[in-house]
Structure formats: C-alpha cells, structure tokens
Amino acid sequence: MSRNVLSRNSLLAALFFCAAFLYLFLEVRYHLIFKEQMIMFLFDSCYVDSILSKPAFAAQLAGDFFTQFFLFSTLAPALTLIALFFLWLGLRYLFLKHHIANPAIWALFPTAAEFALQTQFEYPLAMALGAAMSVWAALLCSNISNNRLRALVSLLLTIAAYPLVGAYALLFIFLVIASERHSLLNIAILCLAAAVSIWCEHLYYQMTLPDFISYPVIPGYNIRYTHIFLCVPALAIVPIIFGGRKLNPYIVFTFSLILAASGAIFFHDSQREYDLKLSSLAYHGKWNNVAELAASNDFESQTGAYYRNLTNARNGVLVQELLNGYQPLIYGLFMPVNGNESYIKIFASVDAMLQCRDYAQAQHAAIVGMNFSPRQTSTRMTRVLAEVAIINRDTLAAKRYCSMLKKTLFYKNWAVDAESVMYDDTGFERNMVADTVFKVNDFQNSLRSILSSDPSNRTALDYLLCFDLLQKNLVEFMNDYDRFYMPYYRNFIPPVIYQQALEMMEAGMEYNISQEVEDANQDFLSGNESKYRNSYWFYFKYAQAAE
C-alpha cells in the first residue's frame, strides 16, 4: 500500500473520529454522563467477585472502570471514542491480515455502527470494549500460522468468549468462522462449539437466551431493539467474505458516515438529553445552570417544569413563578415514585424531596430508583442514602453506605467528609418529626407531617400549598393555609397566587387580600380573561391533564 493511500485513509479515519467526538460531546454528552450515575465501580474484592459471577466479566470490569470517569464531561465522549478507536484499530489490522484493500476504511464500517449504538442511553461502554477485545482475540488467532494450533485456540476462545465479553462473543465467533471459511470441518466444529457453549452458559447464568445473547445490554429498560448490535459482527465479516477490493474507499467511507449519522439520528432523543442534563447538573450542584436551562423548557417536559419549580423554590420564588411557565399539574412539583415510573425520573425526584426535607420519601425514592435501574446499583442514589442516613442520625446505615463510597475512585473524599460530619454531633439539628404513617407518594400528608414538627420549613409549606392549588383542591388549600400558613405568616401580604385562590374561596379580611387582586378578580369574572393568563383563576378554569 502506497504512502499516499495510507495517509489518505488515516486522514479519513481521523475525520470520522473527530466528527464522532463532536457529536458525542455536543449532542449526547449527558446521555454518557448519566451512565456514571448508574454504576458503582468499587476497588474491593467483593465487587470483583460479583462481576466474575456474571457473563462478560472482562468487558464489564473494564467498562465499569472507565465509566466512572464519565463523571467528567469531556472524558465521557473521549473514553467512548478511545474504545471505538481500539475496535477500529483491531479491525484494521485484521483486515490487513486478510489482504483487504483499504483496511482502515473498511474498519470504519462496523466501528460506525458501534458508534451509533453507543449514542443510546444505557448502552454500556462494556459493549464497545467487548467488541474491541473480540476483534483483538480474533487477530491473535489469525496470527497463528500453525493450522491445528489456530483451530484449537479459536475453539477455546469460542467457549470462553461469552463469559469474557458477553454479547460481542458473536463478533469473535463471526470473525474466526469467516477466517476459517476455507475449511468446512473447522467451521462445523466452531459453529457446534459456539452453539453448545451459548446454550450451556445461558443455563448456567440463569438468563433467558435473548437476555443472555445481548448481555451486558440489559433489555426491558430504555434501549430499543436490544439485538441490533448484531449488525456490528455482520458488517465486520463483509470485507473478509467478499474481499472488498473493488469498492472505492470513498464510497465505503461515505457509507460509514451515513451509517453512523443515520444511526445516531435514529437513536437521538433531544428531550431525554435535556432531562438528563437537568438531572445531572442538579446532581453536580450547578443550580444556576439548572435554573437557566429549566427556564427555557421548549420540550414542555415534566422534568423541565419540575426543575424550574425546584430552582424557584431554592430562590424562594416558587409561588410567585408557579404559573409563569409550563406546569404539568402536580407532576411539576413531585415526580411519583413507583415501579412503573422510569428510574431516570425517580433519580430526579429525590431532589425536591430533599429540598422539602422530606427524608422519608427521599430515602424511599433512592432505594426504589436504584432497584429499578438496570444494574441495581448507583453511586448517585447511594450518596443520597448516605446523606439521609447521616441527617437521620442513622449511624450504622450511614457508615455502611459511606464505606461503599469510600471504595470508589471519585466519591472517596465525599464519603470521608460525610463521615466526619456524622461523628460531629453539632453538625445537624435532628428534625424530630412526630411519627405518622402515610402512603408512598402521598406528598400532601408527608408535607403536613413535616410542617407539624417544623412549621418554619417554608419550602415544604409552599410545596404543600402549591400542590393543593395545582390539584385544584381549594378546600384542602384553605385547610392547609389555615393550619400552617396563618399561624406564622398572618401579618405578611400573601403571594398573589395565594390571594387569588383565597379570593375564590371568599376568604375574609384577615387573609390580607389586596384591593388590586379583588378588582382583578371582578375584571376576570366579567369576561376579560385573556389579561390574566398567568393567574390562578385562569389555571383553575382551563388547566387540564393532557390526553
């Protein structure tokens, strides 16, 4: 191959990887960042044991290790790209070994498919690493010149492939079978070994065959078309089987780009990226950015409304701004926590609960959120559990969660700091809530319980009254207002929204309703409604749940 061809091919490959990096960084960065919150890599033998007992342990261990670096926004796309680069590099050498012209360009073809898959939420980095491991293992086999030895090593690796790399064992199997295509006997033996090992191993690991074949992709969550990864092994063997000599490299490159772009577009979900960005920024305490982003809720997303309310509450203007933006009834205040709800929302739901100091619901949401995430672990939720346990003076539980976080790379310092607070009794004032029993997601009774023991909790008070209002339950609003607002804020002028609701209930003089609000109400009732689109009267009359 001439130097010019090499340079051209390298340049095209570099172009592809630059474009891929830009797309990952600009369009799906928070899809990647959120993956870090759904795993928990521990530097502990128990954790390693737990991974060793599952299929794809080599890919999974490497994947989890690198995914913890996704905490840093630039490293997330960079590490994904590095995994893809190793896949491409392995394929390039393999194709070179098979005397395929322009191997660097042909190697882009399956790499582009894997890139598109990596843009999916929940699609683990372990898949790209597993693919790379499979390709390099196939390369190792193809470098063995002794036919018998090569066949033997291929056979052994075929059997070991699933426990090592999971789903992309098929990539290895496809590649070695394609390499051995001139020996029918070898193909038969390899096919038989692959089929028997897959069958036995799925029984051993107690997974259904479809689940087993796609692992470490876990079906049943947010990944559409779990088995679409099979296109990568299929594309990888095309040049080996059909030679690929006659095709113009620019055509192959263009096809690779089209494949990557169309796949990325197909899997792209702008609203989810927006929701994940809000949730992740909140998790990292970047509340100014959250406020800015939530204010422009172009998708009319529930998460957007939820974080707009939450940032307003943090700034003490929840009531004032309540009806100045998209408001999906009560679901903009709290996100319900149950098995039917996406764990992404459950992760986010904890933030409002913590803001209201509703630790019982927050603890519940953290455990349910973690339980309903694909791997049933989460650094983010473990941190919440540790926080709640510390606040509750639940020392043993706090120690347990902190001891886990101390075994991580990036939460170790947080856990050490948290433990120092735990043993300092002056750090927190224990919130002595009078104990009541209420149903999960019964936010009103939960907030009432909090306010009974801590009437100064203004965030909880505003959330409760706003909840009543958004639910259009004016009787409950009056009861809660009389019980929790009046005794402490009687001498203050209530926020306009409260005044508007009180006016509807024909509340008396002692409620401090301004003349301006009374006049506006008359104006509204006389049919001049369009002037009051942001009023509670307008909301009460027209707001309804979307079909």
Binding site: C46, G339, H364, K399, S403, K439, V440, S446
Partner: protein
C-alpha cells in the same frame, strides 16, 4: 475463575506470614463478622472473617489439637478440607481461638475467644429470598438455596426468567419426605407446591375468601396447609428511625387440603371484627398457633394494633378446624404485639417476634424474638441472642437444636441470616451470621436476606424447573368448602 484467583492469591500471600515476635493486646480482636465466643455446629462452613487494617493474619485454634491458619491479607479464609477435619476432630470441644494480626507494621496477639463445637448438626441447606429492601416494589429477585456446610449456592427460583414476577415464602415442612411451597405472583402464577418431587400450581383464592394464601406452613404429613389470606397495604413512616409500615386492612386464616384441593376456614378465625395472621402448626399438627388482634382502621390506628398469640385445635383425620380458640400469650397486656410464631420440633417451645405494635416486624427496629415455654408459660427474651435492630423471620432446624433468623443488626437496613444454638435447657446462645467465602461480602451488597428457611434435603428442582412450572403448568383452582359447624 473466582476460586482459582482466590486460591493463588491466598497461597502467595500466606507464604510470607510469620508471628515470632508480637505485642500482646488485652482485648479480643475486632473481626467482621463477629464470630467471637459463639456456639457452632460441627458441620458449619468455614467461619471466614476479616480484620480491617490488618496486612496479614494468623489464627491459632486450640482444642484436642492445635490448628494454625495463615493469611497474607486482612481476610482469613479457612481452607475447606482442613476446616472440616478440624471440626470433626474437635467435635463437642470448646476451642480457644487466638488471632494474630499485623497492623501498620506492628504484630499483635489478641486475647483468645471461644468456639464451642456441637455435635448436633444444623440442617444442610438454607433458603432465602434475595431482594433489595425496596419496600413495596421489586424488580430483580431470586430465591437461593445455600449449603450451610460449604459455600455452594444455587438459585431455586429467579424472576429474571419468569418475567420479573414476585416470588416469596419458600417454605419446607422439614419432614422426611419434605413438602415445600413458594408463591409465584403475577399473571400465570400461583402457589407452587412440591411433594415427593411432584409439582402442582395452585390458585388458592376463592370467591368465599378474601384472596390467595400468603404466610403459612404445611403440616408434617404434607396434606394440609394453614395460611393467612389478607389485604396487605403499606406506608411510610415520617419519623427518622422508622422506615416502613406494612399493615393489613383485613386478614383471616384459611386451611388448604392439598389432597382434596379444597380451601376451608372457621368462623372463629375469619370475619371483619378481628385480624388473624401468621399461622403455624404445633409439633404434632393438632394445634395451630396464630396471631390475632382487634380490627382497627388502618393506617390511622396502626400503632394501636396489638396482636396476641392464640391457638385453635385441628383434627387431621377430618381436616376440620375447631369452633373455639384459646389465648396462649397476651402481648397486648404488656403493650406489645406478636408476629411469626414458630413451634419447636419437640413441641415444647414457641419462638415468636415481639414488636411495639403492628403485624409486620421486619421494619420495626425494636423487634426481638422471644421464646415461650408452652408448659410453664415462661418467657425468655433471648437477650443474649437478639441484636440491636430487627430480629425476625426465624425458623427451627429439623432437630430443634438450632434456630435461624434474619437480623438487621449489622447495618439496620439489610437482613442477614443468623444462627444460634438452642441448649438442652432451652436457653439460646449468641447468634452468628451465615459465613461467606468472602467475609466482606455483607458490606458490599444491596440485597437483603428475606425469610431464611432451614431444611435438610436439597430441593429437587432449580430455577429453570420453576420457570417451566410457572409458564407451562396448568393452574389447579382450589374449591371453597364451608366450615362444618357440627
């Protein structure tokens, strides 16, 4: 793979351990799990432990002979064969266990503690449900069977292959020909009943009872089952240390006749005035013990629910429950509430949970196990056995000399299976947790061990069998037979 790595690392690390010179510490070592001064069965798996901060360990065990074990890290993992040989040699002996540890470059010898080895064996198998303590919902759960004599375990039910359905209450009657059941919920589910290797899938709900069978036991002959049928609800506690409350809006007892395929009851253990739950058989199946409280609106008055322990006679020849009940233990009189009674195999004792109120003890931190001597009526509060937090879901070994239960003493959140020896005089020794191959295991799992159950004969099925029964087997609908009031 895991075993190979462990073996190689243990051999390499333990080769360099020597404790010729050391400082003496006049305290017992802080090991995890706490295996100091316990009574152990001769057939228990190695009591592997760890000591935080130690860079190498040596354990000297002295009984009839002297046994030395070394480890090149903070974990002491006893080799299975040598451990077995040691226990067989030291049967019925009290062993002095001395731990030597190197911590921050200094070698220490700690005060010895005791292991008393008992010839009375613990059952060879324990089953438990592994589930995240996610309160009322579940995602991934399995029922595991673990051999208590080594570290082998296998799933006997796994909802990953049954469409993520709920599975619970795997229970054996521990008879020579064991009969076991487990409930598989969701569509296509039912109560899976296995006797003599024969499986049946039963729909235990009828039009005349309030729902399917929930908590219960099978009689020794495997023919009858006594169960609760209940409308179970749950809620959150707002107070800091409480987490969750499970309560029944209503609950009754039902008797299943597996041979006839019938469900029956008795007017004295059903109806809206009282709630009856957690039934168990007496040793000879002539009595059924159960918990009963006056029915009050829930959850408003959950804290006023105080369950007492009652019994009702049962005639196994006619399959008929009696028309009257007797009070066995008045917990309400002392402001307590009883749950989960379990009668000892010799019929002399009843072990039950005692909480401040309510029916569901596992989330109550104050829950302890108490032992009632049936003949004398004396209560043993098992202070040496109960932990700081909830101790519940107990069961007896087949020979009645061991008890097993789920305790949250390690971290208050996650239940772990504990064992304790029951002495001839009925007193109970200090408990110890089910040993694990990796002693740090309990610190790094989000799973709770739910409903531990001892039995001596391994289940003849595995998770794939259960999956097949779940999806393929036809459900037998049980018929309600009205109680004969004669």
């Amino acid at each position: 793979m895991k075993n190979i790595i462990t073996l190689i690392s243990t051999l390499l690390l333990s080769a360099c351990v020597s404790f010729n010179n050391y400082d003496t510490r006049k305290c017992k070592p802080e090991i995890f799990p706490d295996y100091t001064d316990i009574d152990i069965p001769v057939n228990i798996a190695p009591l592997n432990f760890m000591m935080n901060g130690a860079s190498c360990l040596m354990v000297e065990i002295e009984g009839r002979e002297k046994w030395v074990f070394k480890s090149g890290g903070c974990q002491m993992r006893f080799p299975l064969r040598k451990w077995k040989k040691m226990l067989e040699t030291e049967n019925n002996e009290t062993l002095n266990v001395t731990v030597y540890a190197e911590i921050s470059g200094v070698k220490y010898r700690f005060s010895p503690f005791k292991w008393t080895v008992h010839a009375e064996k613990i059952d060879s198998y324990i089953s438990y449900r592994l589930i995240e303590p996610a309160y009322e919902v579940w995602n991934v759960l399995s029922i595991e069977e673990r051999c208590t004599e080594n570290f082998n375990s296998r799933n006997i039910a796994n909802n990953a292959i049954t469409g993520h359905s709920c599975m619970n209450c795997h229970t054996s009657n521990r008879a020579q020909v064991p009969a076991t059941f487990l409930h598989a919920r969701s569509e296509g589910g039912g109560t899976l009943y296995c006797r003599n290797g024969n499986w049946r899938k039963l729909d235990t709900s009828t039009d005349s009872t309030s729902g399917p069978a929930v908590y219960g036991e099978i009689s020794k002959d495997g023919r009858f089952g006594i169960f609760t049928t209940a409308d179970i609800r749950n809620g959150l506690h707002s107070a800091a240390m409480e987490r969750f409350e499970v309560f029944d809006n209503s609950s009754d007892l039902i008797l299943l006749d597996f041979e006839k395929g019938t469900v029956t009851d008795s007017p004295v253990v059903k109806g809206p005035a009282f709630q009856e739950t957690f039934p168990c058989w007496s040793a000879n199946d002539s009595l059924i013990y159960f918990c009963r409280a006056e029915s009050l609106p829930q959850p408003q008055r959950t804290k006023e629910m105080h369950y007492n322990l009652f019994s009702i006679a049962f005639d196994s020849r006619t399959g008929r429950l009696a028309d009257s009940i007797s009070l066995v233990f008045d917990a309400a009189a002392i402001g307590k509430s009883v749950s989960l009674p379990k009668c000892s195999p010799d019929g002399k004792k009843i072990l039950f949970c005692v909480s401040d109120y309510g029916t569901f003890p596992i989330w109550h931190i104050e829950t302890d196990m108490w032992m009632l001597d049936i003949e004398s009526g004396e209560i043993d509060k098992l202070e040496q056995t109960n932990g700081q937090f909830s101790d519940s879901y107990h069961c007896w070994s087949t020979n009645g000399r061991w008890m097993c239960w789920a305790s949250k003493r390690i971290d208050r959140v996650y239940g772990r299976p504990f064992f304790a020896f029951v002495r001839e005089d009925g007193s109970v020794a200090k408990g110890f947790v089910l040993p694990q191959e990796n002693p740090g295991f309990y610190n790094f799992t989000f799973k709770s061990y739910n409903i531990p159950e001892l039995y001596d004969v391994a289940e003849p099925y595995d998770a794939w069998d259960v999956s097949a029964f779940y999806s393929d087997m036809k459900t037998e609908r049980m018929e309600y037979v009205k109680h004969d009031t004669k």
